[in-house]
Each structure stands twice: as structure tokens, then as C-alpha cells.
């Protein structure tokens, strides 16, 4: 091994670390800029409502249908396993707890990031490519407050609402399988759920999780779009990166949040 390749490798490693730190700095500055520009969302709520339509309303279908199927599958699988211990009756509790604590927030965040996050990135990236953002700046309109901030807040509002819908539909799916298909008693199904699901520990923590996921996926989406290279290739790369990075961040964040929330219970 010659000196040249070693020093080249070191150089690349150094560049990787420095570039990572630079990106992190840019992201942090961008985050602060969005927060500073958020006043427009209160002055012109119409902007946010329009984005809630694109992020929230149009994502309803991809939340309702997979949510139902996740509930159905969970009901079937859990009943099959629990039946071996003679406790098939608690299938409702297992479905509800796993949905509210983990699967609801994580799966709906993943679905929303691939349905809405990628669309937001592509839209902003294309605006940048066609120089609409520069045109706005020429007209003394801040693109961060006019384009970015409404999308950011719309995402934060939409994700927890969609997560709640996902949970309810999932529990309904579990109900269909357990009560209608497998013959668990309706009263037992609901009382087991009510006995085990706690408002503070489970429901509130689930909502807190989904708020964090909402912040993460919308921030990644607008960041990738705003900092995409203004070419067709750059926009497509940024869109892919949004979905990939969102998935990483959601799953990593989920572990950290769970470790904080459900420790010692």
C-alpha cells in the first residue's frame, strides 16, 4: 500500500466528516429561519390550509386503507399466537397497545413521508429549478416564509391527526378480525383494551411521538427541496433522499423516544 492511497483515503474521510458537519449547520440555520418566518402562518392561515389539503387530506386514503389492513393482520397474527397460551381474549389489548404506542406513529409517518414528503420536496425543488424562488426574492417576497413555513406547519398539524385516524382504523380492523371472524366477545374485546390502555402513558405519548415525527419528516422534505441542485437530476435525487432520510430518522427517533417514554414501566 503506497502513501498516496492512504492519504487519499484520509482526505476523503476528512471531507465526509467536514461535509456532514457543514450540512448539519446549514440544516440548523434553516430550521431557525423557518421558525423565524412562521409568523406568516398566523397572518395568512389560508396558506397553511391549502398545504394541509395537500399533505393531510390527500394522504387520508393511504392512511385509511393500510391502517385497516395492519389492524386485520395484527388481529390474525396475535390471536394465532395468543391462542397457544389460551389467552386469545386479550387480542384487542395487544392490537390497541401496539398500534397506539409504536405501529401507529411509525407506520403513518413512513407512509406520509413517502406520499406527501416526497411531493413537497419535488414541488419545492421544481420551484427552485424553474427559478420561481429567485423570482419571489426579486419581488421582495421571502420564499422561506411564503413557501416553506406554511408547508412545515401544515405537516406538523397533519401528521398527528393522520396518526390518530390510523390508530382508530387499525383498532377497527382488529375488531373485525377478533370479534366478527374469530368469535372473541365484544365486551371482552373492549374491556381488555380499556383496562390496559392508559391515557397519559399510551395515548399522550403516542401523540407526542407523532408530533416529533411530523416535525422530522416535513423538515427533511422542505430542506431537501430547498437545497436541491436546480436540475432535473437534482430534484429526483432530492426526492429519493427525502424518503430514505425520513425512514432512517423516523426509526432512529422512535427508538430514542421509546427509550425515554416507556422506561421503567
Amino acid at each position: 500500500m503506497n502513501i498516496g492511497s492512504v492519504s487519499g483515503g484520509l482526505q476523503r474521510l476528512g471531507a465526509l466528516v467536514t461535509n456532514g458537519l457543514v450540512d448539519l449547520g446549514v440544516a440548523a440555520r434553516f430550521f431557525v429561519a423557518i421558525l423565524a418566518a412562521s409568523g406568516i402562518c398566523l397572518r395568512r392561515p389560508g396558506l397553511v390550509i391549502k398545504e394541509i389539503y395537500f399533505i393531510g387530506v390527500l394522504s387520508l386514503v393511504i392512511i385509511l386503507v393500510p391502517g385497516l389492513f395492519v389492524g386485520l393482520v395484527l388481529g390474525l397474527q396475535m390471536y394465532d399466537t395468543l391462542q397457544r397460551f389460551g389467552s386469545g381474549d386479550i387480542v384487542g389489548m395487544v392490537v390497541a397497545l401496539s398500534l397506539i404506542r409504536e405501529l401507529g406513529p411509525v407506520l403513518s409517518a413512513l407512509l406520509i413521508s413517502s406520499r406527501a414528503g416526497s411531493a413537497v420536496t419535488a414541488e419545492i425543488g421544481l420551484m427552485k429549478t424553474t427559478e420561481q424562488l429567485s423570482a419571489m426574492e426579486m419581488m421582495a417576497i421571502q420564499p422561506v416564509s411564503r413557501v416553506i413555513a406554511p408547508r412545515f406547519w401544515a405537516g406538523i398539524i397533519s401528521v398527528p391527526l393522520l396518526t390518530s385516524v390510523f390508530n382508530v382504523v387499525g383498532i377497527f380492523g382488529g375488531y373485525i378480525v377478533a370479534v366478527k371472524l374469530l368469535g372473541v366477545d365484544t365486551g371482552t374485546f373492549w374491556s381488555q383494551i380499556q383496562e390496559s390502555v392508559d391515557f397519559r402513558v399510551d395515548v399522550v405519548n403516542g401523540i407526542i411521538k407523532s408530533v416529533f415525527f411530523g416535525i422530522a419528516i416535513t423538515f427533511i422534505a422542505v430542506f431537501q427541496g430547498y437545497h436541491a441542485s436546480p436540475t432535473a437530476e437534482g430534484v429526483s435525487l432530492a426526492t429519493t433522499q427525502t424518503v430514505v432520510k425520513s425512514a432512517f430518522v423516523i426509526l432512529a427517533m422512535d427508538f430514542v423516544l421509546t427509550a425515554f417514554m416507556f422506561r421503567g414501566i
Binding site: 390550509i49 397506539i100 398527528p160 393522520l162 390518530s164 390508530n167 383494551i193
Partner: protein
């Protein structure tokens, strides 16, 4: 898409989301039965509380009438002090007793409250002195094994 239709759709969406959250809170987490505020707290000292946890139910005649609000340790008497928040709708006489029971063989532990016959009623902050500790399964197994071991020497000569 015109503005009013957009607002309508967003309104429907937000309503669905809020209804789902309310459903989760009321129907799934059963928030309606919590009724905080109208409770009074009594204390009880136990030699051993086993696996009792905060928020475990306090039941009388099988009906949940309160929850364990705090568990602490009395360093002077070396006993566990359990605070229980009881529903103010139910009054119990001052000589009521508490025991730590287990639902099912390996289920969760809860406090069983057996009403006494005193005319004086339990007040906020009262101490319940008639208590019986949790049955610790490991101790029971230990006792069984100990009894078996004690019986063994009489058997072994016969075996040989």
C-alpha cells in the same frame, strides 16, 4: 380548486382527526372513569408489597374504588408505605383492612379493601393499620421445597 371547497375538505379532515383522537381518549383509554378531584387519600403500611405498582387498582368486593397513588419506604420501621386515592363517593369505616392480592395465578397485583364495622369513617390522610402483605410466590416455592427437603431423610432409608 376553489377556495371554499378546499376549506371544506380541510375542515372535514381536521374533524375526522379530532374525532379519532377523542375516540382514542374516551373509548380506548376510557378517560371518563378517571374522575380526578373527588378523591381522598389514605395510607397503609405493609411488611412486603410484592410487585405492587403505582396506579394499581384498589378493589372492594371486586369493584375498583380507587388507585394506588404513591409507594414509599419507611426507613425507621422498615415497612412499605402505600398511599391510595379512594373515590370520595365511597366511605369506609376506620377499621377497614387492606391486603395485597393477585388477580389470577400470575396476574397483576392489586389492593383488596375489606370494610370494617366501626362507626367512624376513614378521613383524608388516615392510616390503615390492619394490613396483610403480598404472598410472594418465590417464598411459597421456597417453603414447599424446604418442607420436602425436611421430609426426605425419613424416605431415603426406605428407598435404600
Amino acid at each position: 380548486m376553489n377556495r371554499q371547497l378546499l376549506d371544506l375538505w380541510v375542515g372535514i379532515f381536521v374533524t375526522i382527526g379530532i374525532v379519532a383522537t377523542v375516540f382514542l381518549s374516551l373509548r380506548v383509554a376510557n378517560l371518563t372513569t378517571l374522575q380526578t378531584g373527588s378523591v381522598y387519600t389514605v395510607k397503609a403500611e405493609f411488611d412486603n408489597i410484592g410487585g405492587l405498582k403505582v396506579r394499581a387498582p384498589v378493589k372492594s368486593a371486586g369493584v375498583t374504588i380507587g388507585r394506588v397513588s404513591a409507594i414509599s419506604y419507611d426507613a425507621e420501621q422498615h415497612k412499605a408505605v402505600v398511599s391510595a386515592a379512594l373515590d370520595a363517593r365511597y366511605q369506609f369505616s376506620a377499621d377497614s383492612s387492606m391486603s395485597i392480592l393477585t388477580s389470577g395465578l400470575l396476574g397483576e397485583q392489586y389492593i383488596g379493601l375489606l370494610a370494617g364495622s366501626d362507626t367512624e369513617m376513614l378521613q383524608e390522610g388516615d392510616l390503615i393499620w390492619l394490613t396483610s402483605s403480598a404472598i410472594v410466590l418465590e417464598n411459597l416455592i421456597g417453603q414447599v421445597l424446604f418442607n420436602r427437603a425436611g421430609a426426605e431423610p425419613t424416605k431415603t432409608p426406605a428407598d435404600n
